[in-house]
Amino acid sequence: MIPAAFDYAKASSVDEALDLLAADGSRALAGGHSILPLLKLRLAHADRLVDIGGLAELKGVAAHDGGLRIGALTTYRELLDSALVSQGYPLLAEATDRIADLQVRNRGTVGGGVAHADPASDMAGILLALDAAFVLRSRGGTRTVASRDFFRGAFTTALAPGELLTEIVLPPLPAGAGTAYAVQEQAASGYPIAGVAAVVRRSAGGCDHVAVGVNGVADAAYRAAATEATLRGTAGDAAAIAAAAARVAEGVRVQGDIHAPAEYRAHLVSVMAGRALERAIARSA
């Protein structure tokens, strides 16, 4: 539990951080709750950690274009303390409150967790359901990647070498939409075995906005397209929810491990989907 030796550099601006990160073997250090355990277990290696933790320009939650901009270095605690989040995005507040423990929420950053891309991460499924976009900066410029194009596999994202996630952009929640997150955790780690985040608007004509993000099930968090299509246009009654939930793992390779064989996980995610959709619809105005 002692990391191999590494160099340390503290960046005083995003540009300086990008210069430092351009070197081979450099890795970004934000809250440290993903990279440091990996280094301690010697499962990851870094020649140099570039500490971006002091970059104020990457912190904070602000209203933007009817939605939100969340600086990548915003901690989970700061998300929970933000009225913009609790009033505008109850899904984010509901899920953040149960991420890890108090110490991790105080130190861990939203951007760090997203860039780490653990396939079980609650935040990945939730940001997918919220149609988030990620702003990536490098010395070559800035680009924006939609959340559904960002998560590529286990601990693998659209981030290119030398690129830094700087901001998470949330569009406004569709007026009247209800949201919910249903999850069952692996007892030891507290990580989701199956988590389903649902954003559903049910109006007079039926469900006209359905977004379902899933984490913990496949090798990357994903949008459950079949579930969304099945529910869309229906009245959102129990039968429609059941039909939609049953398709939540369609098209993905469900993972199995010592805690949850694939067969169980596939069943569990449909139960979680049913529960998330039911609650989201009940909350839809």
Partner: protein, 797 residues
């Protein structure tokens, strides 16, 4: 404040623990101290072709790199408790060396050691050691390991069998089965557990070149035994040249009883470094592979009974997984502490038990909180529920029909609780089982459970209740029984206590038992303060340093209060007697006329001329005016060898709800009615019961060591090994009955393990009861959502 036994005092040791000022091994820093780290096998089974340390030796700060061949002057570790019994059976013994030499038998076995100026440098150098391995096929399942064609671990153990041990009456049991009106059978897996004391293990070793003496600070439950084993069995140096100190110890649960390779390693390294002290502290991940595990039984259970529920025979065959090599008392746990206890609190006329101890490519297995008794109780309490289910009799009722009645004691257990080769025998000394059962059922509202079950079904939950009416055997003694070769350590099991009353009035009690969290500094002080009638603050308890405490066998098996506490009480009695003799001299009376009351001594009828115990001690310690023949100083030692074990019992009730959709189990209520005899400190007793229940529930619902087919430990950290958390447990509803033990004058039994022994089957029985409408009669632990769901799917077809 003068207290007597029974006062719920806050623990005297807690302020230093709560304020972070305690001294654990890792808090110890000595001048010139170097740091060791151990390279551990990545393979479960492999031959070592060669080890190249040349790159590691050249790394910054490295003082030396050593392999198994550098420690050949030390013997392999001792194995002190062969499975024996009346047949004097063969045990095919293989124990670890300080570091492996030719081959490794499990992932995590030590292969090489680096000593460096800093711990960080030592870890860096580990990565520079190159081992050329020859991987071999591995086997991790005890039953499979005995089958033809299984990979073989040791040349002297064909089919990987360490021993085959039996107990009971085979012919009588066979007859019972031939004549049985009903027979139930079940295969049960009692899964492997990983002890997780808050403080991992570690040592600081120091060799003094001037005197040739060794000092070791170790996180241990048994400092005196470790000195003996190191001296006589491992290192071959006289006992007086080794001093063992167990400073504050942050829990053990049994895993710190044993003689580990690192003890001689740090001492040997210090000697190689010409006396520089050497510290080694394991990481948590390292601990998961190289500190002992617990349980790991595969059991075939058969119960013979009459239709009215009376059990007529119990037949048990168990494969006990002992790991890749044997730990100090590994074979004793699944034999004496398991097979001999399979009748529990019941009047079973016939019991036959066969245990096969087996080597596998896994971490060695030894006692873990309860040590054999949780495994026996699990078999037994599942058996009662399986029989109740088969016969359609209520689980509480079937237990009543088989309980030993209150007039049965002392009771000779037919599975041979005692009857060692030398004739020593253990009788169950006392018991009264139905009142505890009645009390627990009343608290649980057992009569109204059907309503609760119906209500839960309306919420898509299955509700169930489970009972465990356990009997524990603890306060392990007497020496004649436990010391009979093959029945125990081949050693004694008495305890010791010394009391010195200083000139300035403080009373110092030194004891041979060794607290690793139990609260000896409070409990033992209460015993002595109560006996001497002095404020508990005036009694100072010292322990766990072989230089300065009388020899003792350490703390495990819930024995410190019953055996060590009695020794303390006897020592206090001797102090009183000597004080009376001096008081008689000073007060010009006969010792028979001296009254000792509340710390004062006076001639009967003249309490106004009393002398305090401190005044008497002052006079004795100075020795200016002693009666003829009296030695100065008030300093008394007592050794106590208990005539019998003690027998706590009780009833635990678990109430669970199972989620129909996910299979998740929620423990909604837990009731524990325990009879542990007299309670010295009820606050500490309840804390022990709380912790024990949490650990036992942990086995039932969450914990389990999982090995891959190739012998990799897949549950290798707390990310994959689920320890119980406070928020997962309901408020525990505790109550008691009190049947004082007739075996010791304190009337105490022991409480360190009752919770783990009782709670595991209570919870499993509750889950099976909840799912009985589906036709489910057994699920193997841990009852994770995935396993419960799979069982539900299978039951639904």
């Amino acid at each position: 404040m003068t207290v007597t036994i029974g006062a719920p005092l806050r623990r005297k040791e807690d302020p230093r623990f709560l304020t972070g000022t305690a001294h654990y091994v890792d808090d110890i820093t000595l001048p010139g101290m170097a740091h060791a780290a151990v390279l551990r096998s990545p393979y479960a089974h492999a031959n070592i072709r060669s080890i190249d340390t040349s790159r590691a030796v050249a790394m910054p700060g490295v003082l030396g790199v050593f392999t198994g061949t550098d420690f050949m002057e030390y013997n392999p570790l001792p194995m002190a408790w062969p499975a024996g019994g009346s047949a004097g059976l063969q045990n095919n013994v293989n124990t670890p060396r300080i570091l492996a030499t030719d081959s490794v038998k499990w992932t995590g076995e030590g292969v090489a050691a680096v000593v460096a100026e800093t711990r960080e440098q030592a870890f860096d150098a580990l990565e520079a050691i190159h081992v050329e391995w020859e991987p071999l096929p591995a086997v991790v399942d005890a039953e499979q390991a005995t089958q033809p064609g299984a990979p073989q671990l040791h040349e002297n153990a064909p089919n990987n069998v360490v021993f085959t041990w039996t107990v009971g009456d085979r012919d009588g049991t066979d007859r019972a089965f031939a004549e049985a009106e009903v027979i139930v059978r079940q295969r049960l897996v009692n899964q492997r557990l990983i002890p997780n004391p808050m403080e991992v293990r570690g040592d600081v070793g120091r060799y003094d070149p001037a005197s040739g003496e060794y000092t070791i600070w170790m996180s241990s439950q048994t400092p005196h035994i470790q000195r003996l084993l190191l001296a006589a069995f491992v290192m071959g140096v006289p006992e007086h040249k080794i001093r063992v100190i167990a400073p504050d110890v942050g829990g053990g649960f049994g895993a710190k009883i044993y003689c580990y390779a690192d003890y001689a390693m740090v001492l040997g390294l210090s000697k190689k470094l010409a006396g520089r002290p050497v510290k080694w502290v394991e990481t948590r991940r390292e601990s998961y592979g190289s500190t002992t595990h617990g349980r790991d039984h595969i059991t075939y259970l058969e119960v013979a009974a009459k239709r009215d529920g009376e059990v007529t025979g119990l037949r048990v065959k168990t494969y006990a997984n002992l790991g890749g090599r044997l730990s100090t008392i590994g074979p004793g746990i699944p034999t004496t502490l398991y097979g001999r206890l399979l009748a529990g609190p019941y009047r079973f006329p016939n019991v036959w038990c066969e245990v096969v101890g087996v080597y596998t490519n896994t971490t060695f297995v030894d006692a873990y909180r309860g040590a054999g008794r949780p495994e026996a109780t699990y078999v037994l309490e599942r058996a009662m529920d399986l029989l109740a289910d088969e016969l359609g009799i209520d689980p509480a009722e079937i237990r009543r029909r088989n309980f030993l009645p209150p007039d049965a004691f002392p009771y000779r257990n037919p599975s041979g609780l005692g009857r060692a080769p030398n004739g020593a025998e253990i009788l169950i000394d006392s018991g009264n089982y139905e009142p505890a059962l009645d009390k627990a059922l009343a608290i649980a509202g057992y009569e109204r459970l059907d309503e609760a079950k119906a209500e839960a079904r309306g919420r898509d939950k299955y509700l169930g209740a489970g009972l465990s009416t356990y009997l524990e055997v603890c306060g392990v003694a007497p020496s004649k029984w436990i010391g009979a070769v093959g029945e125990g350590w081949g050693a004694a099991m008495w305890e010791s206590a010394n009391i010195r009353v200083h000139l300035t009035g403080k009373i110092v009690l030194t004891i041979g038992t060794s607290s690793h969290g139990q609260g000896h500094e409070t409990t033992m002080a209460q015993i002595v303060a109560g006996e001497l009638g002095v404020p508990v603050e005036d009694v100072i308890v010292q322990h766990s340093d072989t230089q300065g405490t009388p020899f003792g066998y350490g703390t495990y098996g819930s024995r410190s209060a019953a055996v060590g506490g009695t020794a303390a009480q006897l020592a206090a009695g001797k102090v009183k007697e000597k004080a009376k003799r001096l008081a008689a001299h000073l007060l010009e009376a006969s010792p028979d006329d001296i009254v000792y009351e509340s710390g004062k001594l006076y001639v009967r009828g003249s309490p106004d001329r009393a002398k305090t115990i401190q005044e008497i001690a002052f006079a004795i310690d100075l020795g200016f005016d002693l009666p003829a023949g009296m030695e100065p100083y008030l300093d008394e030692t007592a050794y106590y060898d208990a005539p019998n074990c003690t027998f706590p019992f009780g009833t635990h009730v678990a109430i669970v709800e199972v989620d129909e959709g996910t299979g998740a189990v929620d423990l909604v209520r837990y009731i524990a009615v325990d009879d542990v005899g007299n309670r010295i400190n009820p606050l500490i007793v309840e804390g022990q019961i709380h912790g024990g229940i949490a650990q036992g529930v942990g086995q039932a619902l969450w914990e389990g060591a999982v090995y891959g087919e190739n012998g990799a430990l897949l549950s290798g950290s707390m990310l994959d090994y689920a320890l119980p958390r406070a928020s997962w447990l309901p408020d525990l509803e505790l109550d008691q009955t009190v049947t004082p033990s007739p075996t010791n004058p304190l009337g105490v039994k022991g409480v360190g393990e009752t919770g783990t022994i009782a709670s595991t089957p209570a919870v499993v029985n509750a889950v099976v009861d909840a799912l009985s409408p589906l036709g489910i009669r057994h699920i193997d632990m841990p009852l994770t959502p995935a396993r419960v769901w799979a069982a539900m799917q299978q039951a639904k077809g």
